[in-house]
Symmetry: C2
Subunit: 118 residues, 2 copies
């Protein structure tokens, strides 16, 4: 993830509706959610959700694929991981004082990485 992408991603996440959408899509996993379901759960109009989904897609944080009449949106896990990484490495310069609390979180939410630490 380069700076251009990071700027776009930060902009995408700086809006309440979009942050809400991202959360829902992360939870729904690879199955994703149809635009209509997203609109319903987020309690916004179809055209409004479409606007925000386009914005999120432009930033690379989500992807879409048509399935029959519906358009299914899924979170881009790689991009989200890349953004966290950007924030730690590029933005915060890998500063231990900043990254330490984050590392603690990472340790408990991603046990698979314990092996990577050896």
């Amino acid at each position: 993830m380069d700076q251009r992408q990071a700027l776009a991603a930060f902009g995408a996440l700086s809006q309440e509706t979009r942050l809400h959408i991202i959360r829902m899509l992360v939870v729904s996993g690879p199955d994703g959610m149809a635009a209509g379901s997203i609109a319903e759960k987020a309690e916004v109009s179809p055209s409004n959700v479409s606007f925000h989904l386009k914005e999120l897609e432009r930033s690379g944080l989500i992807a879409q694929q048509r399935e029959s009449r519906s358009i299914i949106y899924t979170a881009n896990y790689e991009a989200l991981g890349g953004l966290i990484r950007f924030l730690m490495e590029d933005c915060c310069g890998g500063n231990a004082e900043i990254c330490a609390p984050a590392a603690a979180v990472a340790a408990c939410c991603a046990p698979a990485t314990k092996e990577e630490l050896q």
Copy 2:
């Protein structure tokens, strides 16, 4: 860090000049930088840097303190760590697939946390 703060922080980081400023302040550490030096290094006008510094302060990512004629700005490490944490926990739901790469980064940039893993 609650959602309100996170939204403000993402907004603050979504602007090129402000991202640049945060990077410089993280590097300069507790000593911080005077507004004038920031303006000079970032190559923006005094009034423009003042606008962006106010925005960054409003988001809680930096703090200011007057020192004689200068006003010194410093990065708020706690807030930056909190933002990374928010991104991992609240936004990405602690999803292992997303947090794993970040954990790897954390492991190498913040060796002090290895103890916390035991």
